[in-house]
Amino acid sequence: MLRYTFQRIVLALAIVFFAISALYTVMITLPGDPTTVLLGPRATAEIRADFRERMGLDNPIHVQIAHFWGRILSGDMGTDFNRNRPVADSVFSALPHTVALVFGAIFWSASLGILLGAFSADNRGSWLDRISGVLSVAFIAAPSFVVALYSLLVFSVWLRWFPTIGAGEPGDIMSRLYHLALPSFAIGLAWVGYVARIVRASMLEALGENYIRTARAFGLPRRTVIYNYALRVAILPAVQVLGVGIGGMLSSAVFAEIVFSRPGLGSLIYDSVSGRNYPVVMGAMLVAIGFFVTCALIADLINAALDPRHRSQR
């Protein structure tokens, strides 16, 4: 297990390295010059030239990439092109919000999705199963910005249950959670459906296994059989899917952050890509990809822990 963990960590680091280096190359080749986009209309040609030089934009790409990693390794993410402050400030002030958002979404999708899926499988073929099936598939289809906007209208404007914007008062956990509820729901809803379908399918498979028959044959209570014996196995693919789903959730986070005006990595990356604010893009993507890879890693390890059969893939 430790060796497995170790291998996964090395792989994860390598993935981050390659993903970011490739991204750097793509970013630099994108049309759109940061000097024009960022410096605004009043900037003179000299200001721009000076800016290019300061940012090392005139070096060949591989040199820029080497410098980039050199700086990262010495703990410096560079300086925001746009605001004269360290990229790390922008990125690390955004990160907790996105992490909270993603984990909120995972919370919604895991809790509701697993319940819905287990419930469907348990009542297979009944009209309750059909309804929950149609519901969960409809959830999958709902784009997160649509869900975000509608939940905003319904729960914030009409019902006034939840706030519309922002991330809540710093230091006040309740206020943070209160502000988190709707956006994370908007992101999580599609995953509720996805997880529900996966759990239902693997649950049905598990319920047909011999060991479930064994559990029944020993007269174990129904709840134990379904929620302890079958679900424990059925949950494994869902954990895997959720771990990898973080990538998708980071994408949806862009929408939720825009609609709910929350600070976060998603909108930070989106804004800085549009603004060709390379240092911020790179810093934020480094953290985002690092976050993704960590989550996938954790999901793998959870899976390995939940499933004693699990060894390396081979």
Partner: protein
């Protein structure tokens, strides 16, 4: 008669430990020896039966012969060719056929019976005048009618699938057949049909067979010689009658005596083996069988026996082999 197949000191290893344990364990513990120095000859035209405890390496032996598991040491030669020196497997496998332990599982699930029995021809690029006729002929040999041509493996019973496997193994009239437990899990009637078919082809084509089984009841009827395996080694090998009547190795004797007979009145004398089969990576010192051996003596724990000719014929790896006299005493 010359040896068609001969093995010398064949060793097969598998990775044993994984994860942290593998990192911390001494190198010799990281791998297990599933086969540890197997030497045997199979003569042209004979049938050698391999018996032994489950997990003793019987299947591994068959796979090692036709290159499905890599050798960690030793030599295998088949009809003069050295199979341990990366031979042209494509050509070798045309002459060495294999029947798998799992009858349905070894058939490609989305192919029809017709495609399955003709698969050897397709693999070896042999053009057939009339594919359908050939398939019918092969199936008929195995006792299946033409109505099976278009069935899929899951539509076959175990016995029928087994017959397809037999038909396919024998399609290119191989020189050597490696049959892995061809009767496991079948009831006695179907079992009889399969063995009869193999016997017939053997008689017609002079087939050489290595048959793995733990069904002791059939040995007498099909085998010329028996090899007994324990913990990846051959502990006794010899003519079938001798091993059945007076086994020299205590394990062989325990095995033969263990066979329950369908006679409710039969009197049974059994040697009850003590303890568990040791793990492959925790082999006992000296004679590996000594912790469970009913007739072990103190020096068995320190000296490892080698295969030596037994007084009664064949060879046995035991310091104190059983004889007729010790048996009756």
């Amino acid at each position: 008669m010359t040896a068609l197949l001969s093995l010398r000191d064949v060793v097969v290893e598998f990775p044993a430990l994984r994860g942290l344990k593998a990192l911390l364990a001494p190198p010799e513990k990281r791998r297990v020896r599933a086969l540890d120095g197997i030497s045997l000859d199979v003569l042209a035209g004979e049938t050698l039966a391999v018996v032994g405890e489950s997990g003793s390496g019987k299947t591994t032996l068959a796979r090692a012969i036709n290159g499905l598991v890599p050798l960690a040491g030793g030599q295998v030669s088949f009809d003069g060719m050295a199979l341990d020196e990366s031979p042209d497997w494509h050509a070798v496998r045309r002459r060495v056929a294999m029947m798998f332990q799992d009858p349905v599982g070894s058939l490609s699930p989305r192919k029809t019976v017709r495609d399955l029995v003709l698969e050897p021809f397709a693999i070896h690029g042999i053009r057939l005048q009339n594919r359908r006729d050939k398939a019918v002929e092969l199936l008929a040999d195995a006792g299946l009618g033409p109505d099976f041509l278009h069935r899929y493996p899951h539509q076959l019973s175990g016995g029928q699938a087994r017959r397809v496997g037999v038909a396919r193994a024998l399609a290119l009239t191989p020189a050597l057949v490696l049959a892995d437990e061809p009767t496991a899990g079948l009831d006695v009637s179907v079992q009889g049909e399969i063995l009869n078919l193999m016997n017939r082809i053997k008689a017609e084509h002079g087939l050489t067979t290595l048959i793995i089984t733990h069904n002791l009841n059939i040995l007498r009827h099909i085998a010329d010689r028996i090899a007994v395996m324990y913990l990846g080694r051959i502990v006794e090998i010899g003519p079938v009658e001798r091993l059945l009547s007076d086994p020299a190795h205590p394990y062989t004797r325990a095995l033969m005596a263990a066979n329950p007979e369908p006679d409710p009145t039969a009197r049974r004398e059994r040697i009850v083996l003590k303890g568990e089969t040791p793990a492959l990576n925790a082999r006992p010192p000296g004679c590996e069988f000594h912790p469970r051996c009913p007739v072990a003596r103190p020096d068995c724990a320190s000296r490892a026996p080698v295969l030596e000719p037994a007084t009664t014929g064949g060879r046995v790896a035991c310091h104190y082999p059983l004889t007729k006299e010790t048996l009756s005493a």
